[in-house]
Amino acid sequence: MRHSIKDDYINSIKNYTNQYEDTNFRKIACNDFKSWPSPREETWRLSRLGSLSRKKIKPINPNLKKNNNNTSNLVGSKIIQFIDGAYREDLSSKLPSGVNLSVLSDSESLKYLQKIKKSNLSDHPSTNVSLSCTPSIMKLTVSKDTKVKDFFEIIYEGGEDSQSVHPVLYLELEKNSSLYLIERFNHLTSLAMPLQLIELRNKASLNSIKIFNDNEKTYNLSANCVYLSKESYLNSFSLIKGGIFTRSETHAYLNGRNAKLNLNGIYISCNKQHHDLTTAIYHDVPDCTSKQIVRGVLGGKSTGVFQGKVRVEQDAQRTDGQQMSRAILLSDTACANAKPELEIYADDVICAHGATVGELDDDQLFYLNSRGVPMDKAREILIKAFLEDMINQSVDNSLHDFVFKEAELALSSIITKEK
């Protein structure tokens, strides 16, 4: 069975695409979008899009006058604002020297498409639909040797019911540059399909935090393709808490020696939410490190999915790849799936993975109770500790409090509900 796409969605994409003169990359992408992924496809088996395929949706025409929601931001951070998938210079901060934001030309967009198409994201729906329907591909560049001190926040807002939004970003950190980047997804739309290509040149360093907090009816199919060059470093952390269905899929290619990747995430799910963190890490050269810690807290009838693939090529000797996922179920009707996959073709590697799904530990609860702490409070303490412990291990020190507070906001509603 394939999920057919309603003719009107295909047509509306085509119509949308025709608005633009720079149609080369759009045409290719549009022609490549044939259907929603089938549940027979291995990586979509646990996250099915059947209910999305039955929705009537069309790509949004960005309203360039729409105001932002003044999402509270970190003090002093530089804001890059997207509304309805379109970059809004009028609502964004002035950029410091060494950081540049530009619109890709048609030929550059074509190259962008080719790079994504070479990756294993080539058939991802967000690749094809978002390249067809994005208002423009925005490129954020950090110049060589620039160490950006300010935090950057990209805020994605807007969207309308029955419409899809398509922010497409190209992030390039040139040689020996560094950046702290926080991205917040706060769409009010039916479908959000953010697409990103990230290239870290030699010795570049990126600390990235993504907070998925879209509207309760939103489907978010985030697709990310990352290339890491020699001695570059990506510390990536995703917090998935919003939307009815959020899937963050990241493919990371370790292409240069001594590149280091942390690809961590937390999902906090309640009601009927479906949260999915899918990752694929490709160790193509020797001496690279990748680490993944994923934690989930699930209540209500929610579902969590972690799919983590690590592929170590024959040449990638002395690879260090670690992966650990843990989920805690707070209700009998919640469900967590973990699917670690290791494909190792080199013989001198350290690779480990582990996955657990369980409830809160009875011994720990009793220990807290025996000190006079009531059951509700004891559960709250343990759930927070479960996440805080992980945040402390995986988020840069300067952002611990910020990330923990964001997680706490989602936890408070789930803990109250599961009393």
Binding site: D362, D363, Q364, F366, Y367, L368, N369, S370, R371, G372, V373, P374, M375, K377, A378, I381, L382, K384, A385, F386, L387, E388, D389, N392
Partner: protein, 250 residues
């Protein structure tokens, strides 16, 4: 009136009779030792008293300062003034020692109708008590019991006891895993808290702990009943002749 009264306690685990009619009265100011061989029901008794899920009485009653504990959950019992020092203190990754202590102390204070301590006052109090138990500041910043040595875990248990000021403390095999020096620190900590308003029940295999925490009464538990009670000399008899002689005589 006794501070702790256990009346004819019966308890089954997985359909197996573990406690078969334990009765014990502990008055204010007293220290009682409960000794017994492996499998005699000592730890079950301590879990039953603390109110662990699954350790409910089949028959009998427990009264703390005249109030029945039977219908109380573990947290309520603790707030009412019952304290269990664990044989194996549980690790709580991610839960800082100081905030854990504060949560516990404030739960008890709230119950007693006392004002919750503010952060500064609490930290001051905690540091004072911690230094008596040779618990360093650094240990209070770490996650509860995570990476603690055996001695550190037990010292942290007694620190909690000191902070919570319970009416009745049950010390479950507090000597296990302790070397001679650690045993002394822990025992001194316990002795410092003995007064005429509280009571302590020490559960142990061995007499050696009782050299440090000298009991007023010693009880021998076997097959879920107290088969003999006496003074401190009973512990010496166990040390000399083992449990088998006493059990056979009973």
């Amino acid at each position: 009136m006794s501070l702790l009264e256990i009346k004819n306690a019966h308890l089954k685990l997985d359909d197996k009779n573990i406690l078969n009619g334990v009765s014990l009265s502990v008055n204010k100011g007293e220290v009682h030792a409960i000794m017994g061989p492996n499998g005699s029901g000592k730890s079950t008794l301590s879990y039953m008293l603390a109110g662990r899920d699954g350790y409910e009485l089949e028959e009998g009653e427990i009264l703390l300062d005249g109030i029945s504990l039977s219908e109380m959950e573990a947290d309520e019992r603790a707030r009412s003034g019952l304290f269990l020092a664990f044989q194996y203190p549980v690790e709580l990754p991610g839960v800082g020692g100081m905030s854990f202590l504060r949560e516990a102390v404030n739960s008890r204070r709230k119950f007693l109708g006392e004002e919750e301590l503010d952060h500064l006052a609490f930290v001051k109090e905690a540091r004072k008590e911690a230094s008596k138990m040779y618990v360093k500041d650094e240990m209070l910043k770490r996650a509860v019991n995570v990476g603690f040595s055996g001695g550190e875990k037990k010292r942290f248990e007694i620190l909690q006891m000191a902070m919570l000021k319970p009416k009745v403390s049950i010390l479950d095999e507090t000597d296990s895993g302790l070397d001679v020096d650690a045993l002394k620190i822990v025992s001194d900590g316990v002795n410092a808290q003995r007064n005429n308003d509280n009571a302590i029940v020490v559960i142990t295999h061995y007499q050696r702990l009782l050299d440090h925490i000298v009991p007023d009464f010693v009880h021998i538990l076997s097959d879920g009943v107290i088969i003999k009670s006496g003074g401190p000399e009973l512990a010496l008899e166990v040390e000399k002749n083992g449990y088998s002689g006493l059990i056979n005589a009973a």
